[in-house]
Subunit: 102 residues, 2 copies
DNA sequence: CCGTAACATGCCTTGACGGGTATATAACCA
DNA sequence: TGGTTATATACCCGTCAAGGCATGTTACGG
């Protein structure tokens, strides 16, 4: 599954937002999201298989944390689109400069 | 519909990628994507309603172009996640500095 | 005014996905 | 070892969205 498809799910976005602060166990996320444990585990599986999170075992718990890779991918994909508003700024600048040099 | 949900669709990503180069009519996009015209029109509707593209009329054609707003939103959403790999760099720097000062 | 070109919409079907309940699996504890 | 905690899987159901076909709608061209 692609990064954007994975993050399209609101529940999964809440998970990554939660993991942004600190890593968390499945139980922590269940409490935080107010969803059933199986539902959370399924979302975590999707996130894991897409490489957005990784898990390590601590006792019976599985501690999940964010992984940078896919977010960097998304950042890279977004890059060419940034010219949409930087070019816009350029146009504004030109406009201002034209006004400044009569 | 949210920006991420809109862009989760591969077809819609192909559309915005195509529009990155230049604006295009519906017919242009139909040729470019090899999809049926109604399918393309429906995707364009979704993109339009989410503010990712705008359309202007030229004869019987509708010329579509990208709109910066939602992409900036996405960029903003992504911002806190950038610390995932910049922090990573910091850690690397610290590691290197520790090596440099024995 | 009529035919046609370029899009948009409606309807229908199908497939995928999310959520829940019940159950398997794994690791700790007494 | 037996029980308990923490998480993963299996199965089922409802929903929703994407695609195709057919059909409206709008703007030109003669």
């Amino acid at each position: 599954m692609d990064v954007l498809e994975v993050l399209a799910e609101p529940a999964r976005r809440r998970i990554v937002d939660a993991l942004l602060t600190r890593e968390a166990s499945v139980g922590d996320l269940v409490s935080a999201l107010g969803m059933s444990q199986p539902a959370v585990s399924k979302h975590l599986r999707v996130l894991r298989e897409a490489g957005l999170v990784s898990a390590r075992a601590h006792a019976q718990q599985r501690i999940y944390r964010l992984e940078p890779g896919p977010f960097r991918e998304l950042d890279a994909w977004l890059t060419p689109f940034r010219s949409l508003w930087t070019r816009h700024l350029d146009a504004l600048e030109r406009h201002l400069l034209e006004g400044e040099t009569p």
